[in-house]
Amino acid sequence: MHELALSRAIVEAALRHAEGRRVTVVRVRVGALRQVVRESLRFNFEIVTRDTACDGARLELELIAAQLRCASCGRSWNPAPRPATEIGQLVTPPSFRCPECGAGDADVVGGQELEIESIDVEEGQCIARG
């Protein structure tokens, strides 16, 4: 349900960077730990972009796998080893405790991303005159 608020933030940033030009593609990097339901994000994006310069723009989502590194022993692991399902949820109970030494203070190296990477915009106007 946070996808509506996230869509608004994405569109707001895209419009700012588009500087009045029409936006055709918006690329967003989404970490697996952000609990973003991709279908819901797309659905909300479509609603939020209506009647803006992003209307009709394609939303391209790049899913970034979760990666943790143990602050004590340096071991790296994915806390949610099975791939996220199409609705973007963690399917196995994640483990944020180090499988090697049992320490609980892991650093999140990947999976927290929620970033607008780039947008495609149309330059100039195609005006056909008879």
């Binding site: 349900m1 996230l6 109970p93 944020f96």
Partner: protein, 220 residues
Amino acid sequence: MHRTRVKVSEGVLDANETIARDNRDDFERHGVTVINLMSAPGAGKTSLLERALEDLGDVRVGVLEGDVQGTLDADRLASLHLPVTQINTDPGFGGECHLDANMVRSALPEVPLDEVDLLVIENVGNLVCPAEFSVGEDSRVMVCSVAEGEDKPLKYPLMFRTCSLVLVNKIDLLPHLDYDLDLFLRNLDAVHPDVERMLVSARTGEGTEAWRKWLLRAAG
């Protein structure tokens, strides 16, 4: 007409983070410690505040009360003779299911920051969205009641990972439920190992003394 790719490289929540930093600067300037209190609807945030805020000694407390609609919770807390400021997300903010930095910012002129040491921001009841939006708080506390089931940390890991204290409320109900407290704590540890947790009952008062002391320490 041609297409150009424009590099953005901007966090989706950067705009919120910027305002949250402004809030934090204001809080720091006034020497106010800020707690963001979150939970699902009905977990017992307001009741646990009533228990703890009744007597915080010399610590002056204020509450910023976030709700979609109405002043029911604010009215309850105002009866403790605390400065309570209501934010309704319904009229001005499209009925948002969470507080964000800007909503808190717009309410700050009504919060007597000079007259409080501790400000508790009671977020809108929701286990998803509030976890994403920093409001400029020093720490986040969440309430999860035993009536909600053992699986909640696994379903809402972002919320459980973002908190520095988890209050497990309504433990007076344990004899009447099939709830497996050990399983809940195992799930909690899988998602946020060793996070501080307290077993409490706002109804009977059991365990709430530790919560009161936690707030006192936070404000100190």
